[in-house]
Structures are given as structure tokens and as C-alpha cells.
């Protein structure tokens, strides 16, 4: 696709250069050189893709597109520019590039991942069910980020416990591959295409009607990105929060309440990218009191990193800012519903945060906390 159609397709010609996007952009706010408005301006004026490393600072959190009054899809434009710069001006990969290499390894057909070791006793799985639970990369993260958090595998386990309590015993894939979300946003189209075809192929003949994910990234990949690549899919995709919130509403599921005060970090893939704002909040209200941070829902601040690239002192600064905000809200716990938000915030706030104003706040996963409140009788 040429430059002109990239601009047209994402509505960039309608940009009036008001600068709201740059004002809202986390990468600009923390002092990075990246600016969504600047990118569009330079692409139009110079008639070429600006060869700048700053393109990798974008966290694709969609804040810019959300705030734009003229309907410019800045985050999509960034994504479309990235493939052209991936080899000539690659991003700085963190963690030695491990997450990316694992994604690319799982795009090799003959290598069949077997990541189901997280399944422990006490969770019901039914391999003949027409509902699939898609786990995603959390088993890998458990190995890579064990030094940060030991409870990462509790996320899928808790999500399944919640589903079990709603009367759903889902199926899991024995040789599940990555969804390819990070490849897509980093512009590695080839790997993403391979994964899209391999994943859809693995599911099409299996009789699965619905996919449930606890990771918001897997959710948008199955719901929005795969249909773009391979056409309409024969199954629905929902987040576990949606299922659980519905069950609470219908009275199927009861969770024990206590007096703890929570605040919620909207994962960008769950909130702005999919519009799921209310279900996680319903879930939190059923287990305790919810207080909102000033930047929440559509205006939720990003967790500070995306796709494990360009993590630096500035993203740390951003996470610290978010931490202060959560602390000021008066909550005891900051809950999030995305393994990556959990990892990035835990990492960014491991130092410095606890000593502030002699108060501290814990970061935890929504599913883990909710599953710990399942009534014993139910």
C-alpha cells in the first residue's frame, strides 16, 4: 500500500493539526520525541514515511484516536508505517527480545507448543465443550517474569475457576500457539499472518462456537485482527469478564464482598480497543468498593509499555505517575485485567512507590482477586 492510501484510509487528511492527540499521548507526555500529530504532518508535507526511531515509542494505546475530534486513526497509521521501518530501523527490544522470538518460534508449523502445564487440579476442563478458553502467552510470562510476580499462572487458573462457578467447563487447546498480537503491532506482518492462519486452521474443524479469553490482547486479536486477515470467523469471542459480569447480573454467580477499596486500570485492549468498560467494574463492585482514578475508562492512562519494546526511564516515570494517581484515589488495591498491564505496572512500581506518603497500594489481577471470593457453598 502506498503512502497516499495509508493516509486516506486512516483519515489523516482530515487532521486539522489541533494537537489534542499529542497532548493525550503517553509517549509525548513523558518527554519522548514521538507525536501523533507530528507524524501525520510530516507524512503529508514531506510525502514520505519519516525514518525515525520514535515510531517505536508509540504504545498503540489508542488514546490519540479516542480523543481526536475528526476521526483520524493515528494508532492504525502508526501500525501501518511500522512494517516499512522494522528492518531498517528496528525497535529496542527488551528482555533480550525473548517474547518476540517465542512468538516467531510458535509461527513455525512443525513446532507445536505444549503449554498446558498451568492446568492444575481443582479446575474443570471439558475437552468436548464448544467453548474454548484461549490462554495466550501467560505460561511464557510466568517463566520470564517469575522474579517479578509468582502468581502469573493464577490468572488463567482463576479465570477458569470463575467460569466453572458460572457453570462453564471450557476446552483448552493442547498445542496452542501465540495469537501474534505483538507481531501485528510491531509491523511483523509475516509472522502475524502465519499465526493467524495456523490458529484459525486449528480451530475451524474443532467445532468450537465461542472463544473466551482472559487476556485482552488475545481478545482483540481473535475478534478484530483475524477477521481482517482471514475473513469472518465462525465463532464468537468474549472476554471472561463479560461472561462473569453477566452471570453476576443474572444471579448465577455470587461473590463474597468485603470492605476493601479497589481502583481499576483499564487495559487499553479491553477498554478503548474493544469498548468493554462496564463488565470489569460490575465484577469489582460485587467484591468490594470501586473508586475511579481521574484518568479512567476512555481516558485511562496506558500501563506504559507495549509489545516489550522501548522500556526505559521515561516509561518508569509514567508508571510512577500512574501509581501516584492510584494511591491518591484512596484505593487499597489497583486491579487490572491484563497480564501485561500487571507485569509492567508491577515492574515499574517495584521501587519508589511504596515509600510515598507512608502508604502503599498493591497491584493485583482482577480474576485472581475475584476467584478468591467465590462463595464456598456455590
Amino acid at each position: 500500500m502506498d503512502l497516499l492510501s495509508k493516509l486516506e484510509q486512516n483519515g489523516a487528511r482530515k487532521c486539522v493539526a489541533c494537537g489534542r492527540c499529542t497532548f493525550a499521548c503517553p509517549a509525548s507526555q513523558i518527554g519522548g520525541e514521538f507525536s501523533p500529530r507530528g507524524l501525520v504532518e510530516r507524512m503529508i508535507l514531506e510525502d514520505k514515511i519519516p525514518p525515525e526511531k520514535e515510531i517505536w515509542l508509540c504504545m498503540t494505546c489508542k488514546q490519540c484516536t479516542q480523543i481526536c475530534q475528526f476521526g483520524v486513526s493515528f494508532h492504525e497509521l502508526v501500525r501501518e508505517v511500522r512494517p516499512t521501518l522494522l528492518t531498517s530501523l528496528p525497535p529496542e527490544e527488551n528482555h533480550g527480545g525473548i517474547p518476540r522470538v517465542l512468538e516467531r518460534l510458535s509461527a513455525v508449523r512443525k513446532i507445536r507448543p505444549s503449554r498446558q502445564r498451568w492446568i492444575t487440579s481443582g479446575i474443570d476442563i471439558d475437552q468436548s465443550s464448544d467453548t474454548l478458553f484461549y490462554v495466550g502467552c501467560t505460561p511464557y510470562f510466568d517463566v520470564i517474569f517469575r522474579y517479578l510476580r509468582q502468581d502469573l499462572l493464577e490468572m488463567p487458573r482463576s479465570a477458569i475457576r470463575l467460569l466453572n462457578a458460572c457453570g462453564i467447563a471450557p476446552r483448552v487447546l493442547m498445542h496452542e500457539r501465540c495469537c501474534g498480537h505483538d507481531s501485528y503491532w510491531l509491523g511483523d506482518v509475516e509472522t502475524f499472518q502465519r499465526l493467524a492462519f495456523l490458529n484459525v486452521e486449528a480451530l475451524e474443524r474443532s467445532g468450537v462456537r465461542e472463544i473466551l479469553t482472559f487476556c485482552p490482547e488475545c481478545m482483540i486479536t481473535w475478534k478484530q485482527l483475524y477477521p481482517k486477515m482471514v475473513g469472518k470467523l465462525s465463532f464468537d469471542v468474549r472476554s471472561v469478564t463479560e461472561v462473569v459480569a453477566k452471570a453476576i447480573e443474572e444471579g448465577i454467580l455470587r461473590l463474597e464482598r468485603n470492605e476493601e477499596v479497589y481502583t481499576f486500570q483499564d487495559p487499553c485492549r479491553l477498554g478503548r480497543h474493544s469498548g468493554v468498560y462496564e463488565p470489569p467494574r460490575q465484577l469489582i463492585r460485587s467484591i468490594g468498593r470501586l473508586v475511579e482514578m481521574p484518568r479512567s475508562r476512555e481516558m485511562a492512562a496506558c500501563c506504559g509499555n507495549s509489545s516489550f519494546v522501548n522500556c526505559n526511564a521515561m516509561t518508569r516515570q509514567w508508571q510512577l505517575q500512574r501509581g501516584k494517581e492510584a494511591l491518591a484515589s484512596g484505593a487499597d488495591r489497583l486491579l487490572t485485567a491484563c497480564p501485561k498491564c500487571l507485569i509492567h505496572l508491577t515492574c515499574g512500581l517495584a521501587e519508589g512507590w511504596v515509600s510515598m506518603e507512608r502508604r502503599s497500594i498493591r497491584i493485583d489481577d482482577l480474576y485472581v482477586i475475584a476467584a478468591s471470593r467465590l462463595s464456598k457453598k456455590a
Binding site: G96, I98, L105, I111, P113
Partner: protein
């Protein structure tokens, strides 16, 4: 290394009889000198190994091992000093932790963990170097190429 262009899948160049490709990260003070000794004393050693000299086995990150695998290596060896002999006091223990982590990741990813090997080889152990390499290559011959026998399936 971090900024080099991303290598692409390179499973193609395997027509005819397949021979495993091995990347060996050798510590400058022990294993590399051991390999040197093996050469000087004219030991017969499998030629599948590409040696990368690093100052310490603790320099080898999990990312480096995984990148070697995705770039076409069938197996990766990390060879360092015996415990207690590290030139930098404890680099080989870091290596041990990291290789354990990589093996765990490989098991999840569906790749045989025995494709990655960590061994302690001192500067005087030329024979051990040859032995380790030959055994490792023989094991790779048993396992076959990483990602299947032909590149077309990738």
C-alpha cells in the same frame, strides 16, 4: 546485537543430507582456551560448531540463545568455567540460571530442551571440549532439524 536487523526464518538451506548447525558460546577464560587446546593437540572434533567467544558465560542472555535458534541453529551450547573458577567470580552461575530459564521456555514452546546445553569446560580440558561437542552433535542428529526437515512447511 539488540539493534541488528531481525533475522528471518532460515530453515531453507537444508537440501540433501542434513547436518546440524550448532552455536557454541565459549567463555574467553576457560572453554575458549579449552577449544584452543583441543585444536593445538589435534583432536578430531565435529565441524558443525560455530564458536562465539564471549568474555564470560554470564554474558549469554536467554535472548541470545533463542535468537540463535530462530536464526537457523539447531542447537546452542553455552560453555563456561567450572563453578568457583569464574574469572569474574560468579558469571557462570548467572549462565546456569539463564540456561535453566531457556530450557523451561523451550519445553513450553514445544522444542526439545536438550537442544540447549550448559557445560563447564576448563582451559586444560581439550578432551572434554571435543567429547562435549561430539556428544551434543550426535544428540542433534537423533533429534533432527529444528522446525521440521524442510523449509517449505514453515
Amino acid at each position: 546485537m539488540e539493534n541488528s536487523p531481525l533475522p528471518s526464518h532460515n530453515f531453507q538451506d537444508r537440501e540433501g543430507s542434513w547436518n546440524p548447525k550448532v552455536v557454541a558460546f565459549c567463555c574467553n577464560w576457560c572453554a575458549y582456551a579449552g577449544a584452543d587446546l583441543a585444536g593445538m593437540t589435534r583432536r578430531q572434533c565435529s565441524t558443525n560448531v560455530r564458536i562465539v567467544r564471549v568474555m564470560c558465560s554470564g554474558r549469554v542472555s536467554p535472548g541470545m540463545i533463542l535468537r540463535a535458534l530462530i536464526s537457523g541453529a539447531d542447537g546452542v551450547m553455552v560453555l563456561g568455567c567450572h563453578p568457583g573458577d569464574c574469572h569474574y567470580r560468579g558469571g557462570n552461575f548467572h549462565a546456569q540460571n539463564r540456561v535453566t530459564m531457556v530450557k523451561e521456555l523451550l519445553a513450553l514452546a514445544g522444542i526439545e530442551p536438550s537442544r540447549v546445553l550448559l557445560r563447564w569446560v576448563s582451559a586444560s580440558e581439550g578432551d572434554l571440549f571435543v567429547q562435549t561437542v561430539n556428544d551434543f552433535v550426535a544428540n542433534l542428529h537423533r533429534l533432527g532439524p529444528l522446525g521440521g526437515s524442510d523449509g517449505s512447511a514453515v
